[in-house]
């Protein structure tokens, strides 16, 4: 079913609260550099995608984002390659993250797009949110990575797992010299 958002039921409020808590918990793990615990929040078949964004003529929206599985993307990864990135930071000689960045994830505008099979017994949800990721490292190096996400979350025991994440970073030419943080 698709929630309308106009008049929320108690079930919807409870589900939303649960999802928000999950997203805030995820942000906390990343900000506290608990990357291995963050990896545990990803399903084994997770798809993690961040396209490049093009300037295109009005209406030619199909060309605006690079396509997963076809074009070069900023990220088009699975759990295995995300785990490699975590291991790279853990070597202590990944110079782009050594010394390590100070990072804060702000997650907001959380919306429930779809719950299946039902709000009352949601086993999988599609959600949307906005993010601001602030990254500061060395003395003055500062990046703001701002955009929107669409996540598919799957219930896993008492919690949730991220099964799919689409990240729309609102930049054309990437203004950060590197992206060594998870979004």
């Amino acid at each position: 079913m698709t929630p309308t958002g106009s008049k929320a039921s108690l079930d919807e409020l409870l589900l939303m609260r649960e999802i928000e808590n999950f997203l805030y918990r995820e942000a906390e793990l990343l900000d506290e550099r608990r990357y291995e615990e963050w990896l545990d929040l990803l399903s084994d078949d997770v798809a993690y995608w961040m396209p490049m964004r093009r300037n295109v003529k009005y209406g030619e929206w199909e060309q605006e984002n690079t396509r997963p599985d076809v074009d070069m993307n900023w990220f088009d990864e699975d759990k295995g390659t995300l785990a490699l990135r975590v291991r790279q930071i853990r070597t202590g000689v990944h110079w782009a993250e050594e010394p390590i960045s100070r990072v804060t994830h702000v997650v907001s505008n959380v919306r429930l797009l779809e719950a299946t099979p039902s709000l009352e017994q949601a086993g999988e949800v599609k959600i949307a949110c906005s993010f601001i990721v602030y990254r500061n490292r060395q003395e003055t190096e500062t990046d703001f990575l701002v955009g929107r996400r669409k996540d598919t979350l799957r219930r896993a025991g008492d919690s949730w797992q991220i099964a799919r994440r689409e990240i729309m970073l609102d930049q054309n030419v990437l203004l950060a010299k590197t992206v060594t943080v998870f979004l």
Binding site: V70, D71, M72, L84, V93, W95, T180
Partner: protein, 450 residues
């Protein structure tokens, strides 16, 4: 070596900024505004620069927005199928006539006053042409500014603003065989590569030459990549790449008269058997083995040439196999560079292989790539450290392998054992020649090829 910019030492602008005989290079050249402004005129307005690839504009009316130096240019295919490169600015008041990254159009209409240009650059639309200009505007004279020279080399598009620049093939000289490794098919057939959709573009606060010199022949920076080597991202699971050979030998190959350079891997034997690439993907092994053997048959001894990181003077770098990319280091000021990355693949490769190639590059190159992130860190902080009042008094050391290098037929060029800084000295020696020359008559012809 406190080199005063513009001093008359040796009667040259560069004075003793670059001394390739002693291997001393001033930090000034990485941070000085004056030097940078001169580079835009003396280097970027003269040299052959990479624009794009014809696979990006397959149909009439297709365009791709690129850059030359600091300026925006349009790569177009006109209605007759001819390829052009234009400055992306209206001749009337300068507004960009195209602000899209790519697309297809019949006309570029300036959003300011409405002058319209066809994809062949002709001025075809002028609002109030009769009422306001009384039909006296000489429209043929006011088309888009087109480059002085353009070359389509095996699908790669290059251009120069200087009508006196030598033909692209002469500019490339002996470096051609190494560029061919990028542009030719892996089975040895000429050309037939394509660029994957999605050009990486990112801003790095560093001088463009740090990137160019890293690719021209720096085989010394192993520690930069220790983390990725430890983790292993190659398709086979170990190191950065496994697209090689069981008996590799590496050389630095320099073309100091032209400024180009490469580190190349060669195979020791002409009939060396196939070493599996993407060894875990059994379904591709027949294709990859056949491709490898066809390459040996077609190229013979030259099939032993595998290539590696390379720079074509001034700001085009590439790696021909794994990774198989071309990078352009667009200058944005002395301490700022816009980096672009194009990923190449054989047009006829199986979709499965294209997918693996794509994923490998997403993981490896550019600002999100596990290998290259660590390069950027070094270039950024090397740039800022070049600016210090005290630091600037101390030149950089390019002494490694000083005086070395010997002419070679295979691998072709002036070769040195690696690591060596022969290639970097060649690059900066040529840079100084460009900075001092009054024009191409001072720069070419030279002793070309070696």
């Amino acid at each position: 070596m406190r080199a005063a910019v513009g001093s008359a030492a040796h009667g040259k602008f560069t004075g003793n900024l670059v001394d390739v005989t002693t291997g001393m290079i001033s930090r000034e050249i990485f941070v000085s505004d004056e030097i940078y402004k001169r580079e835009l005129e003396q280097v970027f307005a003269r040299a052959w620069l990479f624009i794009g690839h014809e696979s990006q504009i397959p149909n009439p009316g297709d365009f791709f927005s690129s850059r030359m130096g600091e300026e925006s240019v349009l790569l177009t295919r006109d209605r007759q199928g001819q390829i052009h490169v234009f400055l992306n600015t209206c001749r009337h008041r300068g507004m960009k006539v195209c602000r899209y990254d790519q697309g297809n159009t019949t006309i570029f209409t300036c959003p300011y006053h409405g002058w319209g240009y066809a994809t062949d650059g002709k001025l075809v639309g002028v609002p109030y042409f009769r009422e306001a200009y009384h039909e006296k505007l000489d429209r043929p004279k006011w088309g888009l500014v087109e480059v002085a020279q353009m070359e389509n080399y095996k699908g790669s598009i290059w251009a120069s603003w200087d009508p006196d620049a030598p033909a692209f093939s002469d500019y490339l000289g002996g470096m051609r065989v190494y560029l061919d490794l990028l542009l030719d098919s892996r089975d040895g057939r000429e050309g037939d590569a394509e660029v994957l959709g999605g050009i990486q573009k990112w801003i790095v606060p560093c001088n463009w030459k740090f990137a160019a010199e890293n690719f021209v022949g720096d085989a010394y920076h192993a520690i930069s990549h220790r983390s990725v080597d430890t983790v292993g991202i190659a398709p086979g699971g170990k190191g950065r790449t496994d697209d090689g050979t069981t008996r590799p030998k590496r050389y630095a190959v320099s073309f100091p008269d032209l400024g180009h350079g490469t580190n190349t891997t060669i195979q020791m034997l002409e009939n060396e058997p196939y070493t599996p690439i993407y060894p875990n993907v059994s379904e591709l092994q027949d294709y990859l083995k056949r491709e490898y053997e066809e390459r040996q048959q077609r190229l013979g001894n030259m099939s032993r040439l595998l290539g590696s990181a390379s720079t074509i003077f001034p700001n085009t770098s590439f790696q021909p196999r794994q990774p198989r990319t071309l990078a352009v280091w667009h200058p944005h000021g002395p301490t700022k560079t816009e980096m672009w990355r194009f990923v190449f693949v054989d047009r006829e490769a199986p979709e499965k292989l294209k997918d693996l190639v794509r994923r490998y590059h997403e993981l490896s190159v550019g600002p999100v790539g596990m290998t290259e992130q660590d390069d950027m860190e070094n270039w950024v902080y090397a740039t800022s450290a070049s600016a210090g009042t005290i630091a600037r008094r101390y030149p950089y050391n390019y002494e490694m392998g000083l005086g070395g290098g010997q002419p070679s037929d295979f691998p072709p060029g002036l070769i040195s054992d690696v690591p060596s800084e022969k290639n970097q000295r060649g690059f900066y020696g040529r840079w100084a020649e460009f900075m001092d020359a009054s024009g191409w008559s001072d720069l070419y012809p030279k002793r070309v090829g070696r």
